[in-house]
Symmetry: D2
Amino acid sequence: MSDEKYFQDITPRERAIFEGAITMGALFHQFIGTPVSIKTAKSLERAIEKSMQLQPCIKKVEVKIDREMLEEALNEYQYISLTEDMLNVKVISEYGEVRIVVRMRYVEELHYPLMYVESVD
Amino acid sequence: MSDEKYFQDITPRERAIFEGAITMGALFHQFIGTPVSIKTAKSLERAIEKSMQLQPCIKKVEVKIDREMLEEALNEYQYISLTEDMLNVKVISEYGEVRIVVRMRYVEELHYPLMYVESVD
Amino acid sequence: MSDEKYFQDITPRERAIFEGAITMGALFHQFIGTPVSIKTAKSLERAIEKSMQLQPCIKKVEVKIDREMLEEALNEYQYISLTEDMLNVKVISEYGEVRIVVRMRYVEELHYPLMYVESVD
Amino acid sequence: MSDEKYFQDITPRERAIFEGAITMGALFHQFIGTPVSIKTAKSLERAIEKSMQLQPCIKKVEVKIDREMLEEALNEYQYISLTEDMLNVKVISEYGEVRIVVRMRYVEELHYPLMYVESVD
């Protein structure tokens, strides 16, 4: 890509980490708040995956929305807004020969939707 | 619905307008900025429609993302962020016997993505 | 405004309801998910108010983010994401001689962040 | 922080890059679409900065919204939605003794709001 001059100070491994992290931050803040139900969860998961896979260096995105929480949370309106504790996401980014898996899941002990680097190959 | 006590001051027609308008404002501000390309536009349109149809009184949502703009706007990254001028949306809301069509489209003469009531039945 | 031809089928009262509802839906879906803490809540409230007051027919927006929830929810990261149950909002819209107050607050009995028309003058 | 076990496979420098990148992706997708005008731009800049500075390892965020574009773009509604080409952002993240500057600005030659690592100390 012709953007390479902007990344001369970092290694391929750092570039893969950088791009995976951008996509995870983007995914969270773009889609949190979206109305969702048992019936629409699959369509939403696929659309999130497809849109976020467009970003630079992103090879694959896997999104799982917690179906149990969707069932338990149901009110009379039959849907809720997507929240951080319902999301379990993997983002696989590659640059050169490096492949990174960035993960986001709600970590109970931290009370926080933690984003971290799950593996580096 | 048990929320009816909150809507005693307005007519069924006003309620349908109210709910249709909420959904249009919500749709715009939830999804603007989403990465999109020719290849993912359809999946995104369907996911937007399904999620916004969950909202109260909403019977149908039709979303069209401008394919020509997607083609023209392409950079070397092969995708762009969803912008207001690419969206053409119909939201159909019903309450009692009233049916409202709320529309959003970019109006060139106003330089603005206008939301308006297209019809009332 | 020169957009009046788009609103010929609805009354001034309906127009005020329409614009107030758009702004409430927009506010919710634009800002849900924003990082917030006790220290930044006031700045965020003011920025939300100022930005949403820009929309057509909107005279005033009042946003309150629940400080108790911010305090209780604190994890070791010292902030959380803005959620629907922390928001209490009033949007005042006017068209012609009509003034509408649209309200959003989390209603416990509905388990839902209800948006409704609080008053019409 | 007690989240350190999740970051054992990466270096301090990579951690700083990771957290800076998350915040840049988050900032973009949280706030794109927000109504903004010459009068409200400063309040919005400050609120974005304060909210994004809450994220892990983020020491400083500087947001500039292009005032010329706000002036040129004005329609009869006297505001527009925040778009990618109006944003110029610096995010400074630190971990251990490493300090990273992540930058986002619209790069004309790429037709793209590029996020990149501007410096590493």
